[in-house]
């Protein structure tokens, strides 16, 4: 008896809570999305393969923050680091294809699909939603070092024992960039794989390797502090913050490699769900708060929808595959 009464008490409290939640959320939800049947009716999970605070994670959190008001539901970032992205891929593939679990995707993850991960995952299992950010890589030396230009570096490398170039991880985009440049210019190199951006910069500033390949984000402040010189960047166009740094293409090397960050899902998303997600991401990118974050971090955004992004990812995947065959198989 007593127990039943208690139970009733609990129920009425739960009902009250639900009413409260409903009233509260109605106040916040924009009118057009409030019909209840429309996607999304619960929070959306964004899986991220890098730890909290990494560039892709921060990008996802910014998008989530600014997409919330357009989706009427929060987006929650869940970090699944490890296994060159394998841990995150596995968990994306395990969830239903209903749009409630999506993931960030970066060029590094796409390149990793050529590596050991290809046993378990293929590019055909993904659907690419939106391209958000893009930046090239760069080749950097110490500003008090001997090399002022890429040409000087290559000439030196040809006359001396193998030039040591530091970068992140083996068979990564950075590794391939170094190998491709070595092959095209005919200079002998040894690649030294480090575990991350900060190890790379420590090794360069400490004089343990003379040259490194890295992302501009890692280098920006050290260039500004006058410790590091950038010899060349690997994008189509010059970087706005380094107008005087040439691209590899300008110098006559047929190498264009960029790092991009965007969103992907498991293949088979219902078209209307996909449209809502893509639209929310696009609107989030237009928010002033998002633009402010880009400016603070010297990042550049460029929206691409599913079709354009899929084509870009495919092209990058094929390019990296060819590059890998060309330079690694020897």
């Amino acid at each position: 008896m007593n127990f039943t009464r208690n139970l009733e008490g609990v129920f009425s409290r739960v009902t009250l809570l639900m009413v409260l939640v409903a009233v509260y959320s109605l106040g916040l939800v924009p009118a057009e999305a409030a019909d209840g049947t429309r996607f999304p009716i619960k929070p959306i999970t964004i899986l991220n393969s890098s730890p909290a605070g990494s560039p892709a994670d921060v990008m996802a959190r910014q998008i989530a923050q600014h997409a919330k008001k357009h989706l009427s539901q929060p987006m929650v970032i869940v970090n699944k680091p490890g296994g060159s992205g394998g841990v995150m891929f596995a968990s994306l593939m395990a969830d239903p294809t209903d749009g409630y679990t999506i993931s960030t995707i970066t060029s590094a993850l796409i390149t990793a699909l050529h590596g050991d991960l290809k046993k378990d995952f293929s590019i055909d299992q993904f659907e690419f939603l939106a391209h958000v950010q893009k930046e090239p890589f760069c080749i950097a030396v110490k500003s008090d070092g001997p090399f002022k230009t890429l040409k000087e570096m290559i000439e030196y490398a040809k006359k001396n024992p193998r030039l040591k170039i530091g970068g992140q991880a083996t068979y990564s985009a950075l590794h391939l960039l170094a190998l491709a440049l070595a092959e095209e210019s005919g200079m002998p190199i040894s690649y030294v794989p480090y575990r991350g951006g900060s190890e790379i910069i420590a090794s360069l500033l400490g004089g343990h390797v003379p040259v490194v390949v890295s992302s501009p984000t890692t280098m920006n402040q050290h260039v500004e502090a006058g410790k590091v010189r950038i010899l060349v960047a690997s994008g189509e166009k010059r970087l706005p913050q380094w107008k005087d740094v040439p691209t590899l293409k300008e110098l006559g090397y047929d190498i264009v490699i960029t790092q991009y960050r965007g969103f992907a899902a498991k293949k088979g998303l219902p078209p209307d769900v996909r449209a809502i997600l893509v639209d929310a991401i696009r609107k989030a990118m237009d928010e002033p708060g998002f633009k402010d974050y880009l400016a603070k971090n010297s990042q550049f955004a460029e929206f691409m929808g599913p079709d354009a992004f899929t084509a870009a990812v495919r092209a990058d995947y094929n390019y990296m595959g060819k590059l890998m065959q060309k330079v690694v198989k020897k």
Binding site: P51, A52, G53, S54, P55, D57, V58, R61, Q65, I77, N79, K80, G82, G83, S84, G86, V87, A90, G115, D116, D120, P161, R162, K164, A169, T170, Y171, S190, Y191, V192, P193, Y194, R195, G196, S198, E199, I201, A202, S203, L205, G206, G207, H208, V209, N220, Q221, H222, E224, A225, K227, Y293, K296, N297
Partner: protein, 492 residues
């Protein structure tokens, strides 16, 4: 600089910053005390919430958490023989014997005072020496890491217990299982039979297995005779005992600070080395492992000193000195800040506010630690047949929380069984942890060095720091052998 420093205290008057420090300390204390939940993990878990805090409050919260977690790790190490953090592993060697003798409060009291002392002294060192010592972080290239790793392994001498051979077997076993996972250098996979092993064997489940679960299994055996510990003394160390450990605290603090500065060397290395050096410097090394207070003071001072040390390269160069500091960098980026050479110039108020907050955080930690000491000592009065299942459940839960995967629970159980068997045959388990902590650094830095030198081993003997480290390592070994020999001859 003095004015910057004094100005740094002004933001501490804001209630939200005070709340951040107290909140961070409380969370850190719990994270530290929970075996399996590491300081790094604690920071990573709280990071998304700091997204909504102002920059200084967010950093104060996380750094207070970091410091308090390093102290908190010693609580279970002392009371239950289960290190709450990897870096608290050496604290078990003398902390737990003290508990067994009925003096858990003495060990806990020493641990909190050593942590507080190291926290304050190393923060002052950080304020005064961060900029000049930043270059030290850079002087460590692959050959230096290799030498440091080998030197770290010589700490096995202090851990091996009765048998050198068994200690070395533990080290070799640890190094062997360390090779599992994707090889950093060549990118090939080694001994990966299931996807979960891509990253290699994770340290946390291994630590939980070898220490916590094997300890639980051991206690289950003795629980029939429902032992000891009705005679728990709540007395803290006397002033004389504190002063007697002063040298140990100083040594621990210096070792921790210097190793903290070196990016990626890690806090566990610092506390292992501090324990080893303390034993070596001691006039009564034979008592180490039976419950001497210096054996608690040195590693505890070291692992808290690492916190400030790790901030040196992080704040001045944007290079994290430890895994936890790497996550802290994430907290900066989330706030749109960039730790590095320009931070002192562009945001001095933030940097000095952080320094002031570190000092305040240590005071909060001391207060909490002293208040908690009696409480934790009481935990031991809980009958073991009630306590051990709770410990088992909590550690397995923490293990799951760390990785979100069931695999690590199985791993922890497997290593628990292994740890139990090892203990039965009197193999010390700490050397396995030591080797796991150092193995990857030793292997990858050795191979990177050889790439740099094009295969010539002369690179290890050309640089002053490497030579110095090798010499200390050799002295360390020879000295231990000499002392063991002398002791063996002495009575005979």
């Amino acid at each position: 600089m003095i004015e910057h420093f004094i100005n740094g205290f002004i933001p501490l008057m804001h209630w939200n910053n005070i709340l951040a420090i107290v909140g961070g300390s409380v969370v850190g204390y719990l994270v530290g005390a929970l075996p399996g939940l590491s300081a790094t993990m604690g920071i990573a878990l709280c990071l998304p919430f700091t997204f909504y805090l102002p920059p200084l409050a967010s950093l104060l919260f996380l750094t207070s958490l970091y410091g308090a977690a390093e102290y908190g790790g010693s609580i279970t190490a002392v009371t239950l023989n289960i290190p709450g953090e990897t870096a608290a592993t050496p604290t078990t060697f003398d902390g737990y014997p003290l508990t067994k003798k009925g003096f858990p409060a003495k060990a806990l009291g020493m641990s909190i005072v050593a942590s507080f002392y190291a926290g304050i002294v190393s923060t002052i060192a950080l304020i005064l020496t961060a900029v000049p010592l930043a270059s030290m972080a850079l002087s460590f290239g692959p050959p230096e890491y290799f030498a440091l790793g080998l030197f770290g392994l010589t700490a096995v001498a202090a851990l091996a217990g009765k048998s050198w051979v068994k200690g070395c077997i533990g080290i070799l076993f640890g190094l062997l299982i360390n090779t599992i996972g994707i090889d950093d250098i060549s990118g090939t996979s080694r001994y990966i039979f299931i996807n979960a092993l891509y990253e290699g064997l994770p340290l946390v489940p291994l630590l939980i297995g070898l220490f916590a679960i094997s300890e639980v299994l051991m206690t289950m055996e003795e629980s029939a005779q429902d032992v000891v510990l009705n005679k728990i003394s709540g007395s803290l160390p006397t002033l004389k005992e504190y002063l007697g450990c002063h040298r140990a605290m100083v040594r621990g603090t210096i070792i921790g600070y210097l190793i903290g500065i070196i990016p990626g060397a890690g806090k566990a290395v610092a506390s292992f080395i501090a324990y080893n050096e303390e034993k070596r410097a001691s006039t009564h090394p034979e008592l180490f492992g039976t419950g001497v207070l210096e054996g608690v003071a040195a590693p505890e001072a070291a692992n808290n000193s690492v916190v400030s040390g790790a901030l040196v390269p992080m704040l001045t160069l944007g290079i994290p000195g430890s895994a936890a500091a790497a996550v802290l960098i994430g907290a900066f980026t989330i706030q749109g800040l960039q730790p590095g050479p320009l931070l002192f110039v562009k945001q001095p108020e933030l940097v000095y506010g952080l320094f002031a907050g570190l000092l305040a955080g240590n005071v909060v930690m001391l207060a909490m630690g002293l208040l908690g000491t009696q409480l934790w000592a009481k935990v031991l009065l809980v009958p073991k047949n009630i306590l051990t299942p709770i410990v088992l459940a909590i550690t397995l839960f923490a293990c799951y929380a760390e990785s979100n995967s069931l695999f690590s629970i199985w791993l922890a159980l497997g290593f628990g069984l292994l740890g139990y068997v090892m203990r039965k045959f009197e193999f010390p388990v700490a050397p396995v942890v030591l080797a796991m902590v150092l193995g990857r650094m030793i292997e990858s830095s050795c191979r990177k060095s050889l790439i740099l030198s094009e295969g010539s081993i002369s690179i290890f003997f050309e640089r002053p720091v490497t030579i110095a480290l090798f010499v200390i390592a050799v002295i360390s070994i020879v000295f231990q052998i000499y002392r063991a020999k002398k002791k063996a001859m002495g009575p005979g």
